[in-house]
């Protein structure tokens, strides 16, 4: 029998990540989508979480585990821009905080999808300026967001997870 710990970090690490350095850092450093890592302060404080930093080849991943059980992973390019976010947890995160300047557009796009066809299904917004996906069910949500225009060269959207 396999004892799956579905909320463990392992589910979200790429297999290729063997040997990655992982640090848990207890200071706030966090930004919203499209934001600048130099200004990152607010989100981790709001989420009252702990943060990990996972360096990758062309970007850094910051992971915050919030008190609510939501885990957010933030993808920061070498030039300090948050180009992608991924999250999972029992409940959706504070999307206003995570999406920042994209939040209002996201709300409008989510509303537009909901009226386009009746039915309960994953939220898949593929706007030219930004992408947001949300899926799951109460007690287990997951989602991701990114800005296509600032994906670092060679980075695929599928890496944001």
């Amino acid at each position: 029998m396999c004892k799956r710990q579905s909320r463990s970090i392992s589910s979200w690490l790429p297999v290729a990540g063997t040997g990655l350095m992982i640090f848990v850092i207890a200071f706030p450093a966090w930004a919203s989508l499209g934001g600048d890592s130099a200004s990152i302060q607010a989100d981790q404080l709001q989420m009252r979480g702990t943060r990990q930093t996972i360096p990758a080849e062309s970007y850094t991943v910051h992971e915050i585990q919030a008190a609510t059980g939501v885990v957010v992973r933030e993808y920061i390019s070498r030039d300090g821009k948050v180009f992608g976010l991924a999250w999972h947890g029992p409940w959706p995160p504070d999307m206003r905080q995570l999406l920042g300047s994209y939040f209002e557009q996201y709300v409008q796009a989510a509303k537009a999808q909901s009226v386009s066809r009746m039915g309960r299904r994953p939220l898949m917004i593929d706007h030219p300026a930004f992408v947001v996906h949300l899926s799951g069910h109460p007690r287990a949500f997951a989602g991701m967001a990114y800005v296509p225009g600032i994906l670092p060269p060679g980075v695929r959207a599928e890496e944001i997870q």
Partner: protein, 404 residues
Amino acid sequence: MRALRILFIFAILPAFMFLCSCGGGSSRSSSSISPSQTITTSGTNVASISVNGGPLGNYDDAAFASVTVCVPGTSTCQTVDNVLVDTGSSGLRILSSALTVALPQQNASNGNPVFECFPFISGYTWGPVQTADVEIAGEKASSAAVEVIGTNTPVPSGCLDFGLPSSGTLDALGANGILGVGLFAQDCGADCPTTIYYECPSSNCQGISESLAQQVANPVSLFATDNNGVIIELQAVSGGEQPSVSGSLVFGIATQSNNALGGATVYTANPTSGNFTTTYNGTAYPESFIDSGSNGFYFLSSSVSGVPACGGDASGFYCPSSTANISATNQGTNGTSRTVNFSIANADTLFSSNDSALADLGGPSSMSAPYFFDWGLPFFFGRNVFVAIQGQNAPGGTPPYWAY
């Protein structure tokens, strides 16, 4: 925080340390060819359900039931029809616009009325938590907390910040309510964050920690008998689509002569998330689930599944040029596993008809990991699916579980 404090709690944690090996011979496998299905139609624990497009006639692949709510302890009752049957959530929610009976309000200890913002991926429900005797078939949940959706009370920021659309109207919900008969006894659970429940004095709702006993409850868990779960029994769809399909919502598992587990296989679910594992093409996806409230097979991404996605009006669905036959294996946390075969048809073509029961409707569930399978309503066609509630006793395994 006065200064930067850097704590190196971990260093160099190879990812493989976390990986779970799932080999071995403990799993059972067999084909998914279902034996002849028997749908129970009589009994005090049987409610009829129908996949029929719902109250607006525009809802593909959703099952609807009638639910009676009463002022607790009285015969002041109302039957609400067209309530969506949802195994992906727990608790009864009814649109205020569909409700004519005045139910008593749940108040916090300080006397302020309690409200709820409940998030679904398709939208949030916002409204007061009220108390009702909930009656379905011959069963009764006395003084159950229910959510009344749609209210003039302003939505608090903690709810709006989910960024979800409102499901507060008939046009948005496509149903008169949601009957959550999922794996849990309460809707939110022991670690419920303060963004779900609120107390609302005359102005400015404040988030609260709602106790389990006060949370909106799965009414089945409050029944006097037949309270350990449900069976969803829907007819198979012939020819891929039909205008409607009928079936039964049966209460209790192995509590009566008409709800035995029989030959169904039990798949236990993660007790925190309610998920289990689906394996496709050699890769295990441990965040998968069965959900009658999802209106299709939602799984993987187009690039991982190899099934082309639709553009235009059917965006969010799969649109293969010819019907795709898919095989995947479900595995419970108890190690039991079996293969499921299903088909995905072109959603553009499916939507061109007026049929409401579409056996082969599906779409992608995500575009990056964690990929998973959401076994939505089409999974239920022609297959009796048991849902056993956490904390209750049921045969064949420890709930929460599914069996089919």
